[in-house]
């Protein structure tokens, strides 16, 4: 019988030698007015992707401004909301924090101004200055009152309405990162309409290669980043716009003027590290931060954006694409960055 011991040994090796089996699961999800792509690699990849889809649906139902029964619609309709769960309460609190940090360049109370331009329902128009002036008086999220436990309530200022479109996708990516950890995913990615979170490396051990779209050429790239365990979120005026009388109006409204931001930038990409697995609650993390800052820094323009990067007290890096044909990269990305040949841009690293 000795001879069969070899066979038994081989069988044991086959069954145990490879340890956990890594499987791949992917999905394409239409939500939040965009298409999302999720991929997960790990023993529980299927469950992770299924749960991700469920979580995104739940987030959209809570954060959408166009769904009548969402938390945001309720708050805008009634002016206040009580007994919010800790995570959503924190999301609004964080939005207020980013408003203060960026001196108002990011503000969720911009909603009525977005409506006036028609960016909420795709019925675009250029509002009268007098109309904008009236609406701008209501734009200031400092007027939102937040009360913590026991009731966790939010009360808007008189006549205010909020739109979480500037952070909803970023927060969704924070939530997906947590889903990945819960399901012991080793490598994964979620791209949400151009924003991305990558967990670990690619399954082959190399970094994820993330291309930043060229704002001047829809099918070209302006830069390539090599990333692992990171968020990269881009805002650009070219994403959504309309033309009237030969003039182009894009969707990133400067809360100071009520007009599309005209700061000399074509796009802003904010890059930050993953939040990591030690989170008790799924609170807004670096995904939310990158989303808010990509909008705010687009509004600010190059000089102010770089100043904020240096002195703002937050840990992130930047890729700025300017109207005058430059790609400006902050020092933290210097060794994770690649130029694109024949893109026509000149590349500068700043510190």
């Amino acid at each position: 019988m000795k001879r069969f011991s070899i066979l038994i040994l081989t069988l044991c090796l086959c069954l145990t030698g490879c340890g956990k089996q890594t499987t791949e699961a992917t999905a394409q999800i239409f939500a939040m007015d965009t298409v999302m792509e999720v991929a997960a690699y790990g023993e529980h990849a299927e469950q992770a992707v299924k749960y991700t889809e469920k979580r995104i649906e739940e987030l959209e139902n809570r954060l959408s401004r166009t769904k009548a029964h969402s938390l945001v619609s309720g708050l805008n309709r009634d002016g206040s909301i009580r007994h919010l769960t800790y995570d959503y309460w924190n999301l609004i609190a964080r939005a207020k924090e980013y408003r203060d940090a960026t001196n108002g360049a990011f503000d969720i109370t911009i909603a009525p101004v977005m409506d006036a331009w028609g960016f909420t329902g795709d019925s675009f128009r250029v509002p009268e200055q007098s109309e904008l002036d009236t609406l701008l008086k209501k734009v200031n999220s400092d007027a939102i009152q937040m009360l913590g436990s026991p009731s966790d309530s939010v009360t808007l200022g008189e006549g205010q309405a909020i739109d979480l479109g500037g952070i909803a996708k970023g927060y969704t990516s924070d939530c997906v990162e947590a889903v990945f950890y819960d399901h012991e995913i080793e490598n994964g990615k979620i791209s949400l309409g151009g924003n991305v979170f990558v967990l670990g490396t690619k399954p082959d051990g190399s970094d994820w290669r993330v291309g930043i779209k060229d704002p001047r050429n829809e099918s070209g790239l302006a830069a390539i980043l090599s990333l692992r365990d990171a968020y990269a979120i881009t805002s650009g005026g070219y994403e959504r716009y309309f033309e009237e009388n030969g003039k182009t109006y894009h969707h990133i409204i400067d809360p100071a003027t009520g007009y599309p931001a005209d700061s000399g930038l074509l796009s802003v990409t904010v890059v930050a590290d993953a939040n990591g697995p030690d989170q008790e609650w799924v609170l807004p993390g670096n995904g939310t931060m990158c989303d808010a800052f990509s909008t705010a820094l687009f509004v600010m323009g190059e000089e102010q954006a770089l100043d904020f990067w240096r002195n703002g007290g937050y840990d992130f890096d930047l890729v700025l694409v300017t109207e005058d044909g430059r790609v400006v990269i902050t020092a933290g990305l210097a060794d994770r960055f690649e130029e694109v040949k024949d893109s026509g841009y000149t590349y500068e690293t700043v510190s």
């Binding site: 001879r3 069969f4 070899i6 066979l7 081989t10 069988l11 086959c14 030698g17 490879c18 791949e24 999905a27 394409q28 999800i29 239409f30 007015d33 965009t34 298409v35 795709d122 990615k189 791209s191 151009g194 924003n195 991305v196 990558v198 690619k202 082959d204 994820w208 290669r209 993330v210 291309g211 930043i212 779209k213 704002p215 050429n217 829809e218 099918s219 790239l221 302006a222 390539i224 990269a232 979120i233 881009t234 650009g236 994403e239 796009s267 990409t269 694109v340 040949k341």
Partner: protein, 135 residues
């Protein structure tokens, strides 16, 4: 001089050896299956996440392809024999048409109203090949 016992493989030894080889081959196949994705550049069309078509971009030179989903009809045409683009769509936003031409692996055209995504996969890995495009 001490002699080793004569080794004479019998039928069962052969069976064991064959079984070990078979198991080794099976294990190797399990590990290698679904490995690196190479091959020719291929366009994959999905509607609501479900694949509805798959073709080589060059096939479009013969005839453009038309897809209807979610009340929207769009046409995909070849561009210089290399890439492809959405040449027309009756969707309200026209973002898919404005996206222009895609020609490299990893690029995609999305028509949100139609819930259709046209994505290029495979193809020779070149230095600019990216996994994800943002912006």
């Amino acid at each position: 001089m001490k002699r080793f016992p004569e080794l004479k493989p019998n039928f069962w030894d052969v069976i064991v050896v064959l079984a070990v080889i078979a198991l080794a081959a099976l294990s190797a196949m399990t590990v290698w299956r679904g490995g690196t994705e190479t091959g020719t550049l291929t366009a994959v069309v999905t509607a609501d996440g479900q694949e509805i078509d798959r073709f080589a971009p060059a096939d479009l030179l013969d005839a453009p392809r038309t897809y209807s989903y979610n009340g929207v009809t769009l046409t995909v045409a070849a561009e210089d024999g290399n890439g492809l683009r959405v040449s027309s769509s009756d969707c309200p936003t026209q973002d898919c048409v404005r996206t222009g031409t895609i020609s490299r692996s990893g690029q995609s055209i999305v028509c949100l109203p139609a819930r259709i995504v046209i994505q290029l996969i495979g193809g020779a890995a070149d230095s600019s090949g990216v996994d994800i495009v943002i912006g």
